[in-house]
Point group: C2
Chain length 111, copies 2
DNA sequence: CCATCACATGCCCGCATGAATATATATCCT
DNA sequence: AGGATATATATTCATGCGGGCATGTGATGG
């Protein structure tokens, strides 16, 4: 199962903040700098990483660099997380944590 | 928008590997050690982090420590990612590849 | 009790990573 | 052309984190 480094990118709060700021659409670097508390080089660096991983796209308009969300990598991460949907479903349905409804591999379940 | 450190936890491949090994249900520490290439202390440490963040639950049976998936934190991450669903939908429908950074297998629409 | 098993913790080290400053490149304006 | 704007890159530094080994703690069995 190839798991990209998307989670690695998402692990940084400031990077997530940038991605959140891009939810409304294209943004220039300066816009993004204003919406954060980071320095411009810091923002540029993070945008570089996000671009290299395919999470954002870059379009140049004059001297402005407009970044926008690129959905595919998110989808991969989302699919990985999808495997755990059933767990939180059980979580609120049954208060117990005896998940033993499936695959009683080696774990001996006590009553 | 409070974003927990779930993504931080998910950023480590070995941690994801542990979580994948727990998809089938409860596992003891030794089981998990066998399913990875890590040493037992390394596994224990990672399990500690996962437990502290609420991603796994611990149940002690004798001298065995059984860990299992705890779905709620996954849900939070999943919800965050949900905001980007629309982007990958657009991604394959519209959006030409004239960003000039990647190789467009299919240039342009079909004529 | 004592040896052993199962697991956790503490300490140490090497490396990746984040941030700040300074500088380079590209574009626009006059 | 020259200067200002917009963004990128380079360098440096400090910190964090993963991962090893040794050791500590609790449970089991003789």
């Amino acid at each position: 199962m190839p798991m990209p480094d998307v989670f690695q990118l998402l692990s940084d709060p400031s990077r997530r903040h940038l991605l959140e700021a891009l939810r409304d659409g294209e943004r220039s670097v300066n816009d993004l700098v204003d919406s954060t508390q980071m320095s411009q080089p810091a923002v540029s660096k993070k945008l570089r990483l996000l671009k290299d991983s395919g999470m954002v796209a870059l379009r140049k308009d004059g001297r402005q660099h407009l970044y926008s969300i690129r959905g595919q990598p998110f989808r991969e991460a989302s699919e990985w997380l999808g495997f755990y949907d059933r767990f939180w479903q059980e979580g609120l349905a049954r208060m117990d944590e005896l998940i033993g409804s499936e695959v009683p591999r080696r774990s001996r379940r006590k009553t």
